[in-house]
Symmetry: C2
Subunit: 286 residues, 2 copies
Amino acid sequence: MYDCSELHFIPMTDVIHQLVNGQTSKDLNIQDRGLSYGHGVFETLKISAGQAVLWREHLDRLVTSCQRLKISTDHLQTDLESDLLKLPVQEQAVLKIIITAGVGGRGYQVPEKATPTRIVQIFPYPVYSDQPEQLGIKARWCQIQLSSAPLLAGMKHLNRLEQVLARSEWSDASIKEGIVCGCDGFLAEGTMSNLFLIKNGVLKTPILHSYGVEGIMRNYLLDLAKANAIPVEVTQLTKADLLSADEVFFCNSLIEIWPLRQLEEHCFEIGPITRKLQSLLKAESL
Amino acid sequence: MYDCSELHFIPMTDVIHQLVNGQTSKDLNIQDRGLSYGHGVFETLKISAGQAVLWREHLDRLVTSCQRLKISTDHLQTDLESDLLKLPVQEQAVLKIIITAGVGGRGYQVPEKATPTRIVQIFPYPVYSDQPEQLGIKARWCQIQLSSAPLLAGMKHLNRLEQVLARSEWSDASIKEGIVCGCDGFLAEGTMSNLFLIKNGVLKTPILHSYGVEGIMRNYLLDLAKANAIPVEVTQLTKADLLSADEVFFCNSLIEIWPLRQLEEHCFEIGPITRKLQSLLKAESL
């Protein structure tokens, strides 16, 4: 059996730079609706060779999500691009952007003229001593089931208690990810990633109309697969589908692709389509 | 038909005093998990004659909710009581308390030694020019349905996007509250209040095991009714139950009891049990 017990993850906590509404700051007004209600959205991007990777795609999701949550997007793109120019250039780093509905006093009602709060943070790029992209990872099932909330599904909003509770189900550092199902019992995603499986040459990932985050890397990989003649299916998938899959992997904008090697007692091979997608991503210089 | 169109609500936005971890401040660290994930809880209390009303009950819910969300409660009661002594005494005011999981870097995992953030705010007591407690209010049905999330149900946590979206369904200032159902179609609550109805002398309120907030005033009224020989039922209730009810009211710790007078085209009388509970509350000097 594949043993990941010696693998270690080096957490990143030391922020390099932070801007709040374009000014260097570490502070948020405690009356901000981002805190009061989680009324906001965020994006986490990879900075590579000084560039924000898949910037256009992240920006598009940010704008669409703000609109769904009644947060003004006036000047959002120009303000964010101006923020990025103020930051020290990084060869490789993590860029986190948070947009909230702004200061809004007490009460759920969205104020008519609220000014959104714009937070931009740069963190060091995480170093994984255990080569998860090459050697694959160990994962487990989470007990918690994601609630069905179609009006919130797909977005990377600030209401993330279900993910916090899912991630709190284990502390064994050798387990890198947990797999979460929806309240209907179908596969949803990882706690911090999207989930793909491959069966008989077809790349499959759960449909996320009721819960889950439609990851930028998930959608990018779906397009990349189609462009390279790998058939794809976005559909309802069961635990049994996963256990009988030929290959399984997790993805997000930072980790890109982490193959699954062991899920509790069940072992997986890292197969040719996973490796092909990894090399296609590398060729795209993401 | 009862016309509430001339009624006005005077919103309160001017905070009187704010403490963050016992110090006068208006700022939160932007790396706080309360912002990143909504990883925290809050309480809203009435200050009356210089006292926090139902303090013990609010504190108990705060402690229980923190424990459910893996937030340390060490010294919480003594720290909060010490905070309250630092605040200017108010004859009547609103006290809001937020407890978050504290600063925790990136990543859902709860840090082993996170120090919670404690926010205490005093707002002016709201003035309602239209005597909603006496004359009753106009309400409407909300379209949004609350998702079923048993691990989060009952708590007043910081993941409140569903309430924000519910409240954004109307802007007519004469409508004071919206009634929200759960995803199973049963009645849940108001956007900012709990919901009670009375049928044939029995006081009924929705069971909140899958969604909703178990309000302190809701539980207090259930006890008050029982102590005064009014039979109570906490059960699944339908829209039809509400429409055929003899009396309906909303409650929370600030508004106490607001009778429902008009729900879209449907009118209600303000009945004897609603009035009895209001006078019992007044006799308790809450």
